[in-house]
């Protein structure tokens, strides 16, 4: 197996909550290979965004990474100085966010903003930086890039702005792209275009992509590997097809069943209850209070990650014995 581009190992992030440090994300591990799209899936509060910010050490004063390693091509990012880290951000690892309108500075042209990034990391001349800006705008499918490079963010539609963000991220030829809910705020036809673009870029440039989302449809469309998070932990990690065919964690299965589907398969089943807050994490399995398959042993002690039968990992004591596949139309659900 090739060396992963990004290897997150046993990452734990703590936040200051009312004076004390609370672990918000615990023991997160996953890899991203070059050219691979990895989905980080979970509801709001699952810790997926916190994990991403921790990868780039963007959590500021209120958070700290208390243990774990984040290896980019073998180099542990958590041990770098702030100066070295600034060279990594936007350069080797680029990040795009959900709301392109608030991520772009309305007072500057998009060309100027892209050029600024290029000059900061590559130190090239103004003219070269501008040329690069036109190049990447064209790459992401902005029509008439040469003239649009002088436009301001408000002159672009939502979908176009997200493309501009992607262009800015690409301008420094990053090895890795972290996309935090990049299509959530976009129309579905535009979302399809953006996802196609991200897939093409990953394939054409061998760029690793970490795609944070709560939308299983997006995962099914674009991702190779899936990492499912709940209450700050990874609860299941597997190849995309395998995960959907046979989820092994009750939360994963519950998530799949609770989303209404465009093709009308199945009704919606609501997972009762709500996820716990960081200061109320149970000692044992954090999903146990809401789990239909929970037994006494689930609440005793923290649940370790175990290997899934078909590859990947899962954090469930009963993973080996449960069959959580959704019943196909007309069939009885397996016992």
């Amino acid at each position: 197996m090739t060396t992963p581009l990004l290897s997150v190992q046993d990452l734990t992030v703590e936040f200051a909550v009312r004076g004390a440090w609370q672990p918000v994300v615990t023991g997160v591990s996953f890899d991203v290979q070059p050219g691979q799209v990895v989905a980080l899936v979970g509801e709001s509060g699952s810790g997926k965004s916190v994990s991403c910010f921790a990868l780039l050490r963007l959590h500021g004063e209120s958070g700290r990474t208390s243990s774990g390693r984040v290896l980019l091509d073998g180099r542990d990012l958590l041990t770098l100085s702030e100066r070295e880290m600034a060279d990594v951000r936007g350069n080797e690892i680029a990040m795009i966010f959900q709301e392109p309108m608030t991520s772009l500075n309305p007072a500057f042209t998009v060309g100027a903003q892209i050029a600024e990034v290029v000059r900061r990391h590559r130190g090239v001349s103004r003219a070269d930086a501008r040329k690069r800006a036109v190049e990447v705008l064209d790459l992401v499918g902005i029509p008439r890039a040469a003239s649009r490079v002088g436009d301001y963010p408000h002159q672009f539609s939502g979908g176009m702005r997200q493309r501009v963000m992607i262009a800015m991220a690409l301008s420094t030829d990053p090895r890795m792209l972290i996309a935090d809910e990049p299509t959530t705020a976009l129309d579905v036809t535009i979302q399809a275009q953006i996802l196609d673009l991200v897939k093409d870029l990953a394939r054409d440039f061998g760029m690793g992509v970490l795609l944070v989302t709560h939308d299983l449809g997006v995962v099914a469309d674009a991702c190779d590997q899936v990492v499912v998070m709940y209450a700050g932990q990874v609860v299941e990690r597997a190849e995309c097809f395998d995960l959907f065919a046979r989820p092994r964690h009750p939360y994963t299965a519950g998530l799949m069943r609770s989303l209404p589907r465009v093709d009308g398969v199945g009704g919606i089943e609501i997972i009762p209850g709500t996820p716990p807050m960081p200061d109320q994490f149970p000692v044992g399995c954090r999903f146990s209070p809401r789990c239909a398959h929970s037994v006494a042993a689930c609440d005793d002690a923290p649940i370790p990650l175990t290997q899934r039968e078909t590859g990947g990992t899962v954090r469930c004591l009963r993973a080996g014995e449960l069959d959580l596949r959704r019943a196909r139309a007309g069939e009885e659900a397996p016992a």
């Binding site: 209120s62 009762p272 209850g273 709500t274």
Partner: protein, 292 residues
């Protein structure tokens, strides 16, 4: 009817949250203490003053503090400074409250109408406000007092007129912001009449920025009244006012500085307290810093 699960409800009423944020910084508490003292002085002057503020005593002229029962000394005419200070607080208080009241009366309702209904209301009222704003405040007050005659009432009215366009602007801006909120649209979709929307939806949500302006205005009013009285255009002698005490005390400055120092300190402390209060209010009612 299915039992739908509900999440834990965070318990902190808006009042408690405001109090917690406001009472935190020591500056706010100090400001409140100063204003409390001022209020006690203003209200309790007739009972607290050891001497009659108008009573002249040739024997006891230009006394230093702590002499013969005059805790803060006397002025050139033998009048007790402490008593005059207390009655001056009264005058300042009256001036502040009345002028702010005039400002509110003239500024708030037009602002609500202009902000919510726009159109002609906005066009007419905003032009009037702009015109009033283009006069330097003290000059405007001077002009009004000059025309109507120098006395405390006219001075207060004049300052109130100065406040009208300033309150108008703040309330109008806040109303413009509030009217974009969905709950206003929701109210209209229910069929709620405009006056109810103004009174129950717009006004309470506009009060926060207004409260800040009011406390700052109180400070300004005290300063303005003192200035007008200093110039002889406000409170007329022999009635005490901090401003007139200042102007009268100047002549005897080399004999005893106290009749000048005392009212000056009083004005500075009180106005400072008003400004700190305004800042404190402004910080306490805005969005909570950090996660909500």
């Amino acid at each position: 009817m299915s039992v739908l699960p509900t999440q834990a409800v965070v318990v902190e009423s808006p009042r408690r949250r405001f109090l917690r944020r406001f009472a935190g910084p020591w500056a706010n508490r100090l400001a409140l203490a100063v204003l409390a003292v001022w209020l006690i002085a203003a209200v309790g002057a007739p009972w607290l003053a050891p001497f009659d503020p108008l009573a002249q005593d040739i024997e006891a002229r230009r006394l230093a503090p702590f002499t013969d029962g005059h805790l803060l000394g006397t002025d050139a005419l033998g009048r007790d400074t402490l008593s005059r200070l207390l009655y001056g607080a009264r005058v300042a208080g009256l001036a502040a409250i009345t002028s702010v009241g005039v400002g509110l009366l003239g500024g708030v309702i037009p602002a609500l109408l202009a902000g919510l209904l726009r159109g002609w209301w906005d066009a007419v009222f905003s032009r009037i406000a702009d015109a009033l704003l283009s006069f330097p405040p003290l000059l405007l007050a001077l002009a009004i007092v000059g025309v109507m005659g120098p006395n405390l009432t006219n001075a207060m009215l004049a300052i109130g007129v100065v406040f009208v366009p300033r309150f108008y602007r703040v309330v109008r801006a806040a109303t413009l912001a509030v009217r974009e909120e969905t709950f206003i649209e929701a109210s209209r979709s229910i069929g709620t009449p405009t006056h109810w929307v103004l009174r129950r939806h717009v006004l309470p949500n506009v009060l926060s920025p207004l409260a800040v302006q009011i406390s700052l205005a109180l400070g300004f009013a005290i300063l303005a009244e003192s200035s007008l009285s200093f110039l002889g255009l406000g409170v007329q002698p022999p009635d005490p006012s901090w401003g007139s005490m200042l102007s009268e005390g100047r002549a005897a400055w080399f004999y005893t500085p106290w009749p000048v120092i005392v009212p000056t300190v009083a004005v500075v402390l009180t106005v400072l307290a008003c400004n700190v209060l305004g800042d404190g209010l402004s910080d306490s009612v805005g969005r909570e810093k950090g996660r909500a």
